[in-house]
């Protein structure tokens, strides 16, 4: 009977299989987020020829290279500017920015702030592993207070960013946070985020067993996911000022913000239509 049972992994058609196995360490959570993203793409029933994925540099930056979509692996921190150009050049594309916390918030922090302010029509998925994974575990803008890293051997004293608060304050229309433990919820939120127009920000907490967990003696990747399971609480619609992270402390997860604002293209079309007489609207013509 066993010889007759055959099935194909439902995620494999979304991956460039010649590039696998991927470079991520055993216990790293980035692969799980990619798994969820592939399933969210399946459920959203988007035309995959009109989905583009852009990544910056870093461990999470490798995602663009592994996804079997139109993808671009751009320079460090510049994933959002590139995605902005892609979106404005071809407004019918669904552009997803898939990058890490170091790429989006350290070197690319300024771009994130302004893309959110303009309400650029992008879906930004940030895999937050609280450290710079690829370069050796330096302190990132998301490393919680008191965590030990290679550049802070006596513990970190820099207050970290509260990413959902930053995104909401800058003007994102959709802000959510999940962890690698919440796979089903993450798929649902990614599907919602892909359907939403405007600047969508989804933060996913992921373990970094090789650098973050090992430096802080927190065990393996799976131990960190168990910590997410024990200390996370769903707080949909919570005030984002109160969802900051602390070292091994409580984690508020859920969908914090869901509101509507005109996107940059809509605002531009409306403005020039009212100011210029012979103006032809661009974008979203085929929607």
């Amino acid at each position: 009977m066993n010889e007759t049972l055959k099935a194909e992994n439902p995620v494999l058609p979304y991956l460039r299989q010649d590039r696998l196995p991927h470079i991520w360490c055993p216990g790293c959570g980035i692969g799980s987020t990619v798994n969820c993203f592939a399933r969210a793409l399946t459920e959203s029933k988007l035309d995959l020829d009109k989905v583009a994925i852009v990544s910056g540099i870093g461990c999470t930056g490798r995602v663009a290279g592994y996804m079997n979509l139109d993808s671009f692996h751009t320079t460090h921190g510049r994933a959002i500017p590139f995605a902005t150009g892609l979106k404005l050049g071809n407004p019918n594309l669904k552009v997803v920015v898939y990058s890490g916390d170091g790429d989006l918030f350290a070197i690319g922090g300024n771009h994130f702030v302004h893309a959110a302010r303009r309400n650029m029509d992008l879906t930004v998925i940030c895999v937050n592993n609280s450290t710079y994974g690829m370069t050796g575990g330096q302190v990132a803008p998301t490393t919680p207070l008191g965590a030990t890293q290679t550049t802070m051997p006596y513990g970190n004293f820099e207050p970290p960013f509260n990413l959902p608060f930053l995104a909401e304050a800058c003007g994102a229309v959709f802000v959510a946070r999940w962890t690698v433990f919440h796979v089903r919820q993450l798929i649902r939120t990614m599907k919602e985020g892909l359907a939403k127009r405007g600047f969508v920000f989804i933060e996913v907490l992921a373990p970094c067993p090789t650098l973050y967990s090992r430096r802080n003696k927190l065990g393996d990747g799976v131990d960190q996911v168990k910590y997410y399971k024990e200390r996370s609480a769903v707080k949909d619609g919570a005030d984002t000022r109160e969802v900051g992270l602390s070292f091994q402390g409580d984690i508020a997860v859920g969908k914090f913000v869901d509101r509507d604002r005109p996107t940059w293209l809509d605002a531009m079309n409306r403005h020039y239509s009212s100011v210029l007489h012979d103006y032809h609207e661009v974008g979203h013509a085929e929607d």
Binding site: A7, V11, P26, I187, G221
Partner: protein
């Protein structure tokens, strides 16, 4: 790609691509029915891969497939498998 022959006793089963598994134990620790366990054997990279230790417990919920960071394991319900055309 080598896939281990699934054992079938319950409502579902799992398929594992042995050679891409990195032994992170996500699937084993978060299996809702606790029916997966590490193998005694190693794969080519030297990791212990998951095996269906209690085949009667598997319901084919595919939660292991959702967690797997290496796209190595996934679960299916037998009734879904029978509907699908045989290759």
């Amino acid at each position: 790609m080598a896939e281990n022959a699934p054992a079938v006793k319950g409502k579902g089963t799992v398929f594992v691509r042995l050679e891409v598994c990195k032994g992170c134990s996500y699937c084993i620790d978060f299996c809702p029915t606790k029916c997966l366990a590490f193998s005694k054997e190693f794969n080519a990279k030297g990791y212990h891969y998951p095996v269906l230790a209690k085949p009667e417990g598997c319901v084919g919920c595919d939660l292991c497939g959702l967690y797997c960071p290496d796209f190595a394991i996934f679960g299916v319900r037998l009734k879904d498998l029978e509907k699908a055309p045989r290759k």
